[in-house]
């Protein structure tokens, strides 16, 4: 799972009012290089919760993202490169996602988060 997906996920356990962002527990991170598409990044930027991305990237061992970001920064190749790397090249391979309100853990195995809810959580 990449941080792109992490940035979109929000715990939907019954009764939880703010399930975002899921805290990341890291056991294993892998990096996979992919082509950078600036159009996609520019389009996505408005939808990204920046602080959550910065924190998630740091948890995954990447601390190069600026604390704050605004759309004018999208003109900078260096910024785009870092944004791209954090969003699309870091994969949480083993670990867990943790609901910020309840502390419930969603395990991540072989890169696949298990988001299945128990019956009493629906």
């Amino acid at each position: 799972m990449r941080l792109l997906t992490h940035n979109m996920l929000s715990s939907n356990i019954k009764g939880v009012s703010n399930g975002f962002p899921l805290r990341i527990e890291v056991e294993k991170v892998i990096e996979k290089e992919v082509d950078c598409n600036p159009d996609f990044l520019i389009n996505m930027f408005a939808k990204i919760e920046w602080k959550a991305l910065v924190d998630a990237a740091r948890t995954m061992g990447y601390a190069e993202l600026p604390e704050e970001a605004e759309s004018s920064m999208l003109d900078s190749d260096e910024f785009l490169r870092k944004f791209h790397h954090a969003l699309l090249e870091l994969h949480l391979e083993e670990g867990a996602l943790v609901c910020p309100e309840t502390g419930r853990k969603f395990p991540v195995n072989k890169g696949i988060p298990n988001m299945l809810l128990h019956e009493d959580e629906v």
Binding site: T5, S10, N12, E49, G111, I112, M115
Partner: protein, 291 residues
């Protein structure tokens, strides 16, 4: 689909390791699923600007449908309830992220962030109650409600479905409309038992210019009669809205909304550019409860 796997066992049981591998190594299935996915992407009618979008693949399975999204240049997140299917997807190194989840429990996604969704041959599974706690209506409601919330305004969701019968199609469509979606069903090759394919095409919120309903394949815009047998089966598409429901079902509903309400709703639909039948003396006659 000659047999109906959803009647045999719950999806996470039916699609076990053996079935998942069998499914994904059949060249016939690969071809069918990628054709269906290709058509679904076409019906998504994303802006033709070359910008990759963030899409969902619901019931993504082993990634056959997601691969079509990748080939079209998009990023995607896939959801499936069968770990065996997802394991094959990761073995095949699909480019989307995959999640183990049950669409009937609702999607765990932030509001307004997804640019479009496809779902190929999966939603009919929701119509079955596989556990005593399962209530298909509630599961469909949770699913469509959460899908509506996570899509960006004006975004589309296209579902290729194999409803078992009219009642099932109606159930799916009604749940989608209740969640706030506008749209209807597109049927490709309606006269061919073999190639007939149904797509539910839904739009989230008020349609904009870029998201206006695409012209269906081979549709002449005049006749929607299923009885009209055409020579040219390969080029037929019929569109109909949730208005065409089995009559029996329509009578059982008691909460009437009245003719005035129906006419107003129809006018609203027309203003949105959605095809609705002309008003006649039969409009809202006995089926008061729905529009």
């Amino acid at each position: 689909m000659s047999s109906r796997p959803e009647l045999l066992a719950p999806p996470e049981i039916f699609y076990d390791d053996v079935e998942a591998r069998k499914y994904t190594s059949s060249s016939r299935i690969i071809e069918i699923q990628s054709k269906l996915s290709e058509r679904a992407v076409e019906l998504l009618a994303l802006p033709d600007d070359g910008v990759p979008r963030l899409l969902l693949d619901i019931g993504c399975g082993s990634g056959l449908s997601g691969e079509t999204l990748t080939e079209n240049g998009h990023q995607w997140i896939g959801l499936d309830i069968s770990l065996s299917m997802l394991n094959i997807a990761s073995e095949r190194e699909v480019e989307g992220d995959i999640l183990l989840g049950d669409m009937g429990q609702g999607l765990a996604l932030r509001p307004g962030v997804i640019d479009g969704a496809i779902s190929i041959s999966a939603v009919q599974w929701l119509c079955n109650a596989d556990k005593s706690s399962h209530e298909p209506k509630l599961r469909l409601k949770a699913f469509f409600g959460s899908l509506y919330r996570c899509l960006a305004r004006g975004a589309r969701a296209v579902f290729q479905v194999y409803p078992e019968n009219l009642a099932q199609r109606e159930l799916i469509l009604r749940s989608a409309m209740h969640a706030g979606f506008a749209g209807g069903v597109v049927v490709d090759y309606p006269h061919s038992a073999k190639s007939r394919k149904e797509y539910l095409v839904l739009t989230c919120g008020p349609p904009s210019l870029t998201t206006a309903t695409p012209k269906a394949k081979g549709e002449d815009g005049e006749s929607c009669s299923e009885d009209e047998v055409s020579e040219d089966e390969e080029n037929q598409t019929v569109r109909f809205s949730d208005r065409q429901r089995p009559r029996k079902k329509q009578k059982v509903n008691k909460k009437g909304k009245g003719r005035e309400w129906v006419l107003r709703k129809k006018e609203q639909m027309r203003n949105k550019g959605i095809n609705v039948p002309p008003n006649t003396k039969y409009t809202a006659r006995k089926r008061k409860a729905r529009f």
